[in-house]
Amino acid sequence: MAETVDPEALGRWLCAFADAVRDAADELTALDSAIGDADHGANMRRGMTAVVGKLESAPDAGPAALLKSAGMALVSTVGGASGPLYGTLFLRMATAAGDRTELDAAGFAAALRAGLDGVVARGKAAPGDKTMLDALVPAVDALDARLAEGNGLRDALRAAADAADAGSDATIPLVARKGRASYLGERSAGHRDPGAASTALLVRAAAETLG
């Protein structure tokens, strides 16, 4: 139970996310075929496979270099809107990590908050638009709240993962206002947002590997 997040821990997190995306790829693509262009699972699997490859080729990278490498791999290999959005998340986390060799719990939470702010700026979406933000915003809010109450990183991340799952569930009845699904208007209701689903996997992977 470490209260700090070092590059090795970040690597475990990204590898766990890659595994989760691979396992859920067909499900994510099925969600996307209902309201999008049926490529989210395949795109994220391709992107995270590239990220894991980068991790293996640069084992000594610090947190910022590691996160930047992950972000750049995603922007160049995902292909769909998730590329620039997840890419921005990790690139902003890298900037927030600065030159530190490891992040404490507050530092990790601040980096994730910076990543979230980047996703908001890039996608110009808001909570309730049926996007990845519907999982990410409650997750980061829960993480901050639990840490502020004095909980450890692991417990706070578990609460964040639960909040992300609930946020993903809550996208099901929503009408999409951003992205390809918004072309469907009211017909987008009744389906889980694929981006919220993959974001919930990202936060769950953090809860299982960090803290």
Binding site: D39, N43, M72, V75, S76, T77, V78, G79, G80, A81, S82, G83, P84, L85, G87, T88, L91, R122, G123, G179, R180
Partner: protein, 152 residues
């Protein structure tokens, strides 16, 4: 609007390399022999659909000859990737002034890139090139007598 100096460059961003390459080919037809640089950042490879912000940044960097670049995009992630590319210009070694000389044009891809190339060939500046490209659906709308306007 005509100035002496390097022409404005044009970058075509599409999910499809085939579509981007063909759109650029159409654009080069209308430059009347003027040396307008037209670059393509489209697809993840020859057959995989997708956009790559790093590739777009490289295309912008290499297409700016000093007068700037107008970027035409198709849809969805092409727009997000083009916006992200502006943040990656330093990483690809772009001239520090290139970011402020880059215009992301809201015009339609095919009509837009053709009009952009034709306008750039006259020596117009990047704002004029982008404005003309953004209005590129006008002649088609007029010809078809199409009067419906989208909600703002």
């Amino acid at each position: 609007m005509t100035v002496n100096g390097p022409p404005v460059g044009i970058v075509v961003v599409s999910h499809s390399r085939a579509l981007g390459t063909a759109a650029a080919e159409l654009a080069r037809e209308v430059t009347a022999g003027a040396d307008v640089p037209v670059s393509v950042a489209a697809g993840l490879d020859d057959t995989t659909l997708g956009t790559d912000a790093a590739a777009i940044a490289t295309a912008i960097a290499t297409t700016d000859r000093g007068a700037g670049v107008v970027v035409l995009m198709d849809l969805g992630s092409a727009v997000l990737s083009a916006e992200l590319a502006l943040d990656l210009l330093d990483d690809v070694g772009a001239d520090p002034a290139t970011r402020d000389r880059t215009v992301l044009c809201p015009g339609p891809l095919v009509e837009g890139v053709v009009v952009a190339a034709a306008t750039a060939a006259t020596g117009a500046n990047r704002d004029q090139v982008s404005a003309d490209a953004a209005a590129a659906l006008g002649p088609k709308r007029t010809h078809l007598g199409y009067s419906w306007e989208p909600a703002p």
